[in-house]
């Protein structure tokens, strides 16, 4: 039964093949033909497969092996500790402390879970989910080829993912980290990364100089200076951290880990091909921590003096200490100041609000380089150099000061007043500097005006005004030396464009449209002190590698020299020495009898304050010492501090105390002075 009878005759004996109910039919298909065609098709299809396999496996095999290794080997970044920043004597001002960062690796978040996970993670980190989302999207932006911002939807749906660990929180607390580790199963893709955070053992010392770190942003990635940096890298965003990032950052290491498709690491022997992190180099700055601290104390003292003197609005200032010969910055202080550690691990909204509050008077502002103001009488030595070098006057030229000056042959008959209302009488040049006689320099300014040239302006620029000094931290402003050309381009109306006698007269006493930063003034005084060399101030001294070897000296290119005749220098220097020492000198009350001979000029600059809608006095003191062999230039400016001799000069003396290791009582201000 099993092998049933089937058809009675064999296939070959019958011309027609047919089934049980076969009826005679006219035409039968040729099975053989159709089989032959199908064989041909089969051969063709197999040929296609073999060709493709040959292409994939034989021709591109090694490429795919590499891709398979890319798949399974995950590079884990081992962060390099960032270099420390020290003062010139090796005292550490900025260092690292270990921290823990919380990040998420999108590749390892299962599809469709990201939305919920972000909410949970935000809860654990005590931030808003929107912030976490924004962080993730921002991280992805740089690598996105089209430049179109990534939509959160695309990320949540898994259309965009990233192998990199996207750091959500830089400096997570132990509590948060242990919570996340305990609940790691509810947070797939979330990883804890050891990192280094900035630490400031000296507190707010020189806070404005170092700058903060932040993740490199989209625009920075395109910049030449950040070439070779990767998205997610922490870079210096300002100050020295920005300027010397290349040296400070070191080189992140890399460990290779074998992971499965779900991102779970496989416990195996370490995979070769990793790289140890190289710590960053140490930046040795020109700063002297003791001098810096003293300069900051001096500013507080100057403001205190101003307040005591009745200048209750005084609330800020700047001090610069330069090496007179080479421009090394021994101190650069700005008041008010702030605690730089608020930036570590991300600036909180609260702290940011505090720093930006106008009542806090902008502590982030480095007033030594980022703010230019009228410099008042401290400009007179520059004036003197210009007048003598151009032959406008000679050292023996005298003018009579009766307390006022009216420019001759002008229509407006404006009365310019000397600070000494009753006048100084007849003065020669040295006496005029000593007593800071305004009328004398009004005359000089008017003489310059009559020459119809720009000699005074040119000299001011030659001595470092009107352009940034080129210090090695970003954010410097250029100040301004007004010229006829500047007036023409700056003002709109024809009347305003005219260069008036008053413009030259005002410039001669450092007023009017004239503006300079404390650092610019310091470079000009350094030129007077060192005989005409325009130094380029700098904060970086050298770069030292972790083994202690100096890898780079940061001395700037050779400064250029301005030719100033010796007689001119002698006259100006004499005036400055007398101003600080002779009985009639404006700061003699402060520096008279001081163990080191100081040469210095007071300044009381009238600056229009838009908040109170009238002029306020900025107190200046610009000086160098020792007078016979100048080593240091000290410039102090107290905002709204009143008279230079009353507040700025005493502050400067505090700094000299430190520079020359002198013990002295806190100096009081000169009673009546410019």
């Amino acid at each position: 039964m099993l092998l049933g009878p089937g058809n009675d005759e064999g296939r070959r004996s019958r011309p027609i093949r047919s089934g049980r109910r076969d009826r005679p039919i006219i035409q039968l298909p040729s099975v053989a033909l159709r089989v032959a065609i199908m064989l041909g098709i089969a051969v063709a299809l197999f040929g296609i497969i073999l060709f493709r396999l040959w292409f994939l496996q034989i021709l591109s095999g090694q490429q795919f092996v590499a891709q398979a290794n890319d798949n399974r080997l995950r590079s884990v970044k081992i962060l390099a500790p960032r270099g420390t920043i020290t003062d010139r004597n090796g005292e550490v001002i900025v260092q690292n402390r270990p921290g823990l960062a919380v990040g998420v690796r999108l590749m390892d978040v299962p599809a469709g879970q990201l939305d919920g996970e972000v909410v949970d993670l935000a809860g654990a980190l005590h931030v808003k989910p929107g912030k976490v989302r924004r962080k993730i999207v921002d991280h992805l932006r740089p690598s996105w080829p089209t430049g179109v911002p990534v939509a959160w939807r695309a990320v949540a749906d898994g259309k965009v993912a990233s192998l990199d660990l996207l750091v959500i929180k830089e400096d997570a607390s132990r509590k948060v980290v242990s919570y996340l580790l305990e609940h790691r199963l509810s947070f797939p893709g979330v990883e804890i990364q050891k990192n280094y955070l900035r630490d400031y053992p000296q507190g707010d010392l020189a806070a404005q100089l170092f700058g903060n770190l932040g993740e490199i942003n989209k625009d920075q990635l395109k910049e030449q200076r950040f070439k070779g940096y990767a998205p997610g890298d922490m870079v210096g965003q300002s100050g020295l951290e920005w300027s010397y990032d290349r040296w400070l950052r070191g080189r992140d290491g890399m460990a290779k880990v074998e992971v499965d498709a779900h991102g779970q690491p496989k416990a195996h022997a370490p995979v070769p091909g990793g790289r140890l992190p190289e710590p960053g180099d140490t930046l040795v700055t020109t700063i002297d921590a003791k001098v810096q601290a003293k300069a900051e104390e001096a500013l507080r003292y100057g403001i205190h003096l101003a307040n005591v003197n009745g200048e209750v609005a005084a609330n800020g200032g700047a001090a610069v200490v330069l090496d007179a010969k080479n421009g090394q910055v021994l101190a650069m202080a700005s008041n008010p100041t702030f605690d730089p550690s608020v930036y570590v691990g991300g600036l909180s909204v609260k702290d940011n609000k505090k720093l930006q509050d106008p009542h806090a008077n902008y502590p982030l502002l480095n007033r030594a380089i980022m703010e230019s103001k009228a410099v008042g009488s401290t400009f007179k030595p520059i004036d003197t150099v210009a007048a003598l070098e151009e032959g406008v006057i000679s050292a023996g030229t005298t003018f009579f000061c009766n307390g006022t000056f009216i420019a001759p042959n002008t229509l407006d008959r404006h009365v310019f007043r000397c600070w000494a209302l009753s006048g100084h009488g007849t003065l020669d040049l040295v006496q005029a500097i000593t007593q800071s006689c305004d009328v004398y320099f009004y005359n000089v300014g008017y003489l310059f005006y009559q020459r119809k040239g720009t000699e005074l302006e040119d000299w001011a620029m030659r001595l470092g005004m009107n352009k940034p000094t080129g210090i090695d931290i970003p954010g410097e402003v250029s100040g301004r030396v007004p010229t006829p050309a500047w007036k023409r381009s700056y003002f709109k109306t024809a009347v305003d464009k005219i260069w008036n006698p008053g413009d030259s007269i005002q410039l001669a006493v450092g007023q009017g449209f004239m503006e300079a930063t404390p650092l610019q003034l310091a470079t000009s005084y350094a030129a007077i002190a060192n005989g005409g060399t325009i130094v380029r101030p700098h904060l970086g001294l050298k770069v030292v590698d972790p083994q202690g070897k100096t890898v780079r000296n940061l001395e700037p290119a050779r400064p250029h020299k301005v030719d100033i005749s010796q007689s001119t220098l002698d006259t100006v220097r004499q005036g400055l020495v007398d101003a600080a020492n002779s009985a009639s000198g404006t700061s003699a009350g402060v520096f008279g009898g001081y163990p080191v001979t100081v040469a210095g000029k007071t300044g009381t600059a009238e600056v229009y304050d838009s908040s109170v809608m009238h002029n306020v006095n900025y107190a200046w003191y610009a000086s160098y010492a020792p007078a016979n062999d100048p080593k240091y230039v000290v410039v102090v400016m107290i905002e709204k501090g009143g008279h230079g001799g009353a507040v700025a000069a005493p502050a400067a003396r505090l700094i000299y105390d430190q520079l020359f290791r002198l013990q002295s009582n806190k100096p009081a201000g000169a009673v009546r002075s410019d």
Binding site: L2, L3, G4, P5, G6, N7, E9, G10, R11, S13, R17, S18, G19, R20, R21, D22, R23, P24, I25, Q27, L28, P29, V31, A32, R34, V35, M38, L39, I41, A42, L45, F46, I48, I49, L50, R52, L53, W54, L56, Q57, I58, S60, G61, Q62, Q63, F64, V65, Q67, A68, N71, R72, G158, K159, A161, E258, V259, D260, A261, H262, K266
Partner: protein, 381 residues
Amino acid sequence: MDWRAYLRHLDYILIAAALGLVAYGVTMIYFATRHDIGGQPLRFVIQQLVAVGVGLVAAAVVSLLDYEIYRRFQWVMYAFAVFIVAVVLPFGEVVHGARRWIDLGFQSFQPSALAVLLLALSIGAYLADRMDMLGSKRVTLIALAMVAVPVFLVYREPDFGSAIVLVALTMAMLYFYGTSWTHFAVLAGSGIAAFVVALKVLPLAGIHLIQQYQIDRLFVFLNVGHNPQGSGYNIIQSMIAVGSGALTGRGDMATQTALDFLPEHHTDFIFAVLSERNGFLGALVLIALYGVVIWRCLRIATLSRDMYGSILAGGIGVMVLFQVFVNIGMTIGIMPVTGIPLPFLSYGGTAMIAFLMFVGLLEAIHLRATVTPSTRGHLVR
């Protein structure tokens, strides 16, 4: 019964090729799944071997039976095929959003895999019974209508792969039945037209027969880089696996499989597992084995004593060719992802049993074709 005649007239080349494929497949399932369930490296291999055992017994039985009897029960088989694919829709277990399996308590059972066998026998019988109507449009249309019902049901599971396998099988049987070329031309034309209408014209009218993601998935192989984390992921990982196998394979360094980068590694992408492990040479062996199977199928189609045998053998051969090409093509990025398993290789008990029964059926056809009149007398008691 004459066992000697039976044994003498078996197609041993076909048996050897089929068993070679099965052995190769079981080995690869082992390598693909040994890490899937901790502590049970042989879990999937044992399940597959059970299916192989059942399949071999079933194949032996089928080879002994005269396939003429299926003609008698063709409508019963057809009704049963429709029944089992219909019953899975309300009663099947849901896996990955699809109802393709019925839980029999001790074992899951995939109705669509068995339906392929039943429909081959019933539609083949329908065609063989109408050799006198060769060239008639009615036969072509009814055969297509017969398969359309289970295809629709299978598609609703959804099991797109099985649905197109059924269509391919029916077309192949029509081909060996001798359907006129003009019918095929018209079918091809209307197929393309329907595709264009469903894809381009109806969406304009607001009717979406095919969802966008299905279209994306279908065409993703043309541009896998378009969405490497989404629909392109499987193909990319599969191509990396295949390509990294190079000439001789990566052996135990087959990380795409071991580390789970390769999706569906023991079912749809078993070829990628094999290629990664054994390289071009290993793949060549596999393709040669398939070549032998298809060659033997087509040879049996020409030898068959009647048209029913020819239609069945040819249909089975083309179906195997179709599945092999589409499945391997998918893993190497030249065909869309359709979810068609690799015959004899992919993990899946019902399909394994069905394919071994196909081999039994081919042997039955072979036996009855090669037994000469003189020996046949001995064969029948």
